[in-house]
């Protein structure tokens, strides 16, 4: 695929030929059958599935429920654990796509666990950055608890920054009253960037059984229905905190990507859109230049300067 220089972006630890990457949890470790449908080298980067210290079996099924313009999921950070990821998953991905920047998503039940996982992944030499997951709504210990209290979020960010050899992006939860306060706290903790937003806590009930559809009862809502919330939060945070933002939350089209940029984003991650359109990422990469022509946008980096510089 032709590299369009107008799409190139530089962020801490990440030299991206375009700003489009699959979001964590929607693309495994690049080891699923989506990879048969396009060359992963086309991607700007990939954010791999969350890693925890020990293997996690995840939540009981059903783990997924559809809602109009959205999807609820409660997978519960199922993953084989950081050891297997370092031994089996990352080397395969890195060897197959040596030019593809990898962002590793880090999760844990305790601060010590986050620190240990972050340390090991960042020392692997295979990841360009970490995404600190303080916002998973589907686990009962850790997860979102770290992302809803500014003091705890700052302390965790600081502790991870002390051990990490690569830049750290903190993934924020929208399930808070004031996301700016959390963003400021992780910035004070030394975060190199933010990624936002994670899913919104939701629930659906089965009318026949009269009980929640999801095995975990609650789940995280994603998809185009949450996009306006993401746009609003990115807009607020980008005006208060001087950190680059990887935007996510219902992005499906090139218009959505540019809307996120105009809110204050520097790159975008695609999640739910894959399920209807497995080639959502390469499609966006192809559509972006044309949309930029229409809107008279010379380059994405100029757009960032224009939006963030004006703040």
């Amino acid at each position: 695929m032709r590299t369009d220089e107008r799409l190139a972006i530089e962020l801490p630890g990440l030299k991206l030929k375009n700003p489009v990457m699959p979001a964590s949890g929607c693309f495994g470790f690049g080891d699923n059958r989506y990879a048969e449908m396009f060359d992963l080298n086309e991607l700007g980067a990939i954010i791999i599935k969350a890693a925890t210290l020990k293997p996690r079996i995840g939540n009981p099924v059903p783990r997924i429920a559809e809602t109009k313009s959205g999807v609820l999921n409660a997978v519960g950070l199922q993953n084989p654990g950081v050891d297997v990821i370092l031994k089996e998953k990352l080397p395969v991905l890195h060897k197959k796509y040596p030019e593809l920047p990898i962002i590793a998503n880090v999760a844990g039940a305790t601060q010590a666990e986050y620190v240990e996982v972050a340390k090991r992944l960042s020392e692997s030499g295979m990841v360009s950055a970490l995404e600190l997951n303080i916002s998973c709504p589907n686990v009962h210990e850790g997860g979102m608890l770290f992302g809803t209290d500014p003091v705890i979020a700052q302390r965790l960010t600081q502790a991870v920054k002390e051990v990490s050899r690569v830049p750290v992006y903190v993934k924020l939860s929208p399930n808070v009253t004031d996301i700016v306060a959390i963003a400021q706290a992780v910035a004070a903790g030394g975060a190199d960037g933010l990624s936002m937003i994670n899913t919104l806590l939701g629930m659906r009930i089965n009318l026949k059984t009269r009980s929640p559809i999801l095995g975990n009862k609650t789940g995280g809502l994603s998809g185009p229905g949450i996009k306006p919330i993401a746009v609003r939060m990115i807009y607020q945070v980008s005006r208060a905190v001087d950190l680059p933002i990887i935007a996510m939350g219902g992005i499906e089209t090139a218009d959505d990507v540019l809307e996120m940029y105009m809110a204050g984003a520097s790159a975008v991650a695609i999640g739910t859109a894959h399920f209807n359109n497995p080639t959502a990422c390469p499609d966006l990469i192809r559509e972006l230049p044309q949309k930029m022509d229409e809107l008279k946008i010379d380059s994405l980096s100029e757009l960032i300067t224009e939006v963030r510089g004006a703040q």
């Binding site: 929607c26 995840g58 099924v61 739910t272 209807n276």
Partner: protein, 259 residues
């Protein structure tokens, strides 16, 4: 090879109460289709964020058609049932491992056990097994007579035993009770089953103590169909990690999978 291609609806018919058959014409990897494989169908309405996993009931690589049979279980499937001939829908596939056809030969005794919407993949399987010269018996269960479909197809492939919960047709009771009522029990080389969890558990209970190979096709609520989202998992016992129904199944060894 996995593709997402546009297919055109060339036939749409109600087979029984709330049960529809849609025949689609289009290009994909027909050579890769085995009985038990499925596709993910994208509904032509952007409000639906998830494709629907549907088993392939028949497949014609010459005419380039696939047949899907589905029950109206929600708004999405109702929408599909209202799509007219000529409508284009997008198909991701073929997906899944399909039923094992190992150890089947001329004269091999095989049993197919199905209930409700578990029947479509067994319809394709019955035909393939018959072509291989197997002696095919099928035991199927429905809630009531108005929901029966697939009779002709299964009868064409061999013996059909039919049960309805309310006794409005055939044996009164479920498929498990139907099988238990049989006075002469054949020694099956393979048993293949697809249907509700209770039916699959019954097949396990009945055949695990025997030498019959057991193949169970599972349903799972899934988002991706390709092993990316890890929503449709099933356990295969202690010391093993969760398996994805979409890529490591939907057909599993009935002696390994824990329902």
């Amino acid at each position: 090879m996995l593709t997402k291609n546009d297919f055109q609806i060339i036939e749409q018919q109600e087979l029984a109460h709330d049960i529809y058959r849609v025949i689609l014409h289009g290009e994909f990897n027909y050579a890769g289709v085995k009985p038990g494989c499925f596709v993910m169908l994208k509904l032509p309405d952007e409000a639906y964020q998830l494709r629907r996993p549907l088993a392939i009931a028949a497949c014609d690589s010459v005419q380039k058609t696939i047949t899907l049979i589905y029950r109206i279980v929600g708004d999405g499937m109702r929408l599909l049932s209202k799509l007219a001939v000529g409508t284009i829908v997008n198909i991701l596939g073929p997906l899944g491992n399909g039923f094992s056809l190992e150890n089947v030969d001329v004269g091999t005794e095989v049993l197919l056990v199905g209930g409700g919407t578990g029947l479509p993949p067994l319809m394709m399987l019955a035909q393939v097994l018959k072509e291989k010269g197997c002696r095919v018996s099928t035991a199927v269960g429905f809630r009531t007579a108005s929901m029966i479909f697939g009779e002709t197809e299964f009868e064409r492939s061999g013996q059909l035993l039919l049960a309805t919960d309310d006794g409005s047709r055939g044996f009164k009771g479920n498929v498990g009770e139907l099988l238990a009522s049989q006075t002469t029990v054949s020694k099956y080389t393979n048993v293949y089953a697809c249907g509700p969890e209770g039916l699959l558990k019954m097949v396990q209970t009945r055949f695990v103590p025997t030498e019959t190979a057991i193949y169970l096709s599972l349903e799972g609520r899934m988002a991706c169909g390709v092993g990316a989202c890890e929503a449709c998992v099933v356990s295969t016992g202690e010391g093993t990690f969760n398996k994805c129904v979409c890529v490591e199944g939907p057909v599993f060894n009935g002696r390994e999978v824990i329902l």
